[in-house]
């Protein structure tokens, strides 16, 4: 995590004093990073955008609880991680219900509403192969594995922080990261740089 920047501290102080432009400043500073975290966890652009909005609404509602000595970035990313994980759980329930409904009704149309985790043809064309493969491999992880891995690898959170956000004990959080790395290695080893493959052999 980055150390809290002076700019964030000043913006938080001004926001608490009722300065609306300071709130906007916090959105401008952090919304894209929050989006990246939310997208990595949810693998869905629309869900990630909704998470960004919900994150800032929650953060501003709780701004009076933010400790001055804390890092605003870390604080808001924790809120974003919580919102993302809630979104994943809600989506899993909806998809499960949708599958049940389809089984009941024999409808094929409804399945088209299930968000796909595979990269779209446009993304395949526009992205490099490695990026596409990485995205696809990440999408194939379970929600818990992907969330734990994203928080560990991209957000540099400790096992304890991950466990708190995901509502797991520390052992389970750690093993979610281990399983994620194993699956990612299996999926991506053929695409690793040649030198690394040679060492692996």
């Amino acid at each position: 995590m980055k150390q809290m920047e002076v700019g964030d501290a000043a913006l938080v102080a001004r926001a608490r004093a009722g300065d609306e432009s300071a709130l906007q400043g916090l959105v401008e500073r952090h919304s894209r990073a929050v989006f990246r975290l939310a997208y990595r966890m949810t693998r869905n652009e629309q869900d990630a955008e909704d998470v960004v909005q919900e994150t800032f609404l929650k953060a501003f509602k709780r701004l009076d609880q933010f400790e001055d000595k804390a890092n605003f970035g870390s604080w808001i990313y924790r809120i974003a991680a919580n919102c993302s994980y809630d979104t994943l759980r809600g989506r899993a329930r909806r998809e499960s219900k949708l599958v049940r409904d389809q089984d009941d009704q024999g409808s094929e149309d409804q399945m088209q509403q299930v968000p796909t985790s595979e990269p779209s043809p446009e993304r395949l064309v526009m992205s490099g192969e490695v990026r596409t493969r990485v995205g696809a491999a990440m999408a194939r992880l379970s929600d818990r594995e992907r969330s734990a891995f994203v928080l560990r690898h991209f957000e540099q959170m400790s096992t304890r922080e991950i466990a708190t956000i995901l509502g797991l004990d520390e052992g389970a959080a750690k093993h979610s990261v281990f399983r994620a790395v194993k699956k990612l290695r299996a999926a991506l080893e053929p695409y690793l740089p040649q030198a690394a493959k040679a060492e692996a052999l």
Partner: protein, 247 residues
């Protein structure tokens, strides 16, 4: 010592390995080579496919957030929690009490009975707010700590405020046949009562006990699951209302 497993290497990479693992790694060429492969994999993963968002995205988010945000009325945390929570606690309980009585149809002055759907929506909103507040206390408890005794005075005040309303929501959940919610609220109530009645400063060992209890019972996880279910039901009831209005 055997060579390091992949899990050991992952711990080492993220700086969570113990001294034994680090000592072996320092003297083992084979493990360092294996680490090279892992580092290559993890570096490759940095090249992921997150869609880029430009300046306009921040502006769009602000336009979405601006009309919905609550006004920020900052009062320093300690100052807010200690006297204000104490003054508000009876009102929070009274509000919950009135709400629960209303929802159970015991408010005799209600001229027209509210529909079951409206009753459910009101209860869901109230319970959702309550669960959000309790979650904040639990997260604070999990993240508190440091050197020496732990100051739990603010968490204690929050707990004192939340116990009466938690009890009322639990009773309402029991009456409504919401067994899962009632059980979680019961677990929560035990913990809140313990914190509310405990000392304002606790030793590191006593604090660790509280944290272990939260963790071993999975209370935070259960509260999140229930809160998430409540949100889902809120969305479903909102959809039902929209569908009824549209038809």
């Amino acid at each position: 010592m055997n060579h390091l497993s992949e899990d050991d290497l992952v711990l080492l990479f993220y700086g969570e390995a113990d001294d034994d693992l680090r000592a072996h790694f320092g003297g083992c060429a084979e493990c360092r080579s294996a680490m090279g492969t892992l580092e290559s994999l993890l570096a490759t993963l940095r090249e992921d496919d997150v869609p880029e968002r430009g300046e306009e995205f921040s502006r769009a988010i602000w336009e979405r957030v601006k009309p919905q945000r609550a006004p920020v009325a900052f009062v320093p945390r300690r100052a807010r929690v200690l006297p204000v929570a104490r003054r508000l606690a009876p009102f929070a309980a009274l509000a919950a009490s009135l709400l629960v009585a209303f929802l159970l149809g015991r408010a005799s002055h209600v001229s027209e009975p509210i529909t079951a759907g409206a009753r459910e929506r009101i209860l869901l909103v109230a319970v959702s707010e309550h669960l959000e507040r309790t979650q904040m206390v639990l997260v604070e408890l999990q993240n508190a700590g440091g050197n020496g005794d732990v100051d739990l005075s603010s968490e204690r005040q929050w707990a004192q405020e939340l116990v009466p309303s938690n009890r009322l929501y639990r009773q309402a959940a029991v009456r409504a046949g919401e067994t899962g919610m009632a059980n979680v609220l019961e677990d929560l109530e035990r913990l809140l009562v313990e914190v509310a009645n405990g000392p304002a400063r606790v030793s590191p060992a006593a604090f660790e006990e509280i944290q272990k209890r939260i963790e071993s019972q999975g209370i935070l996880f259960k509260v999140r699951v229930i809160e998430s279910q409540v949100h889902e039901r809120q969305r479903e009831t909102a959809r039902d209302v929209r569908n009824r209005l549209a038809s």
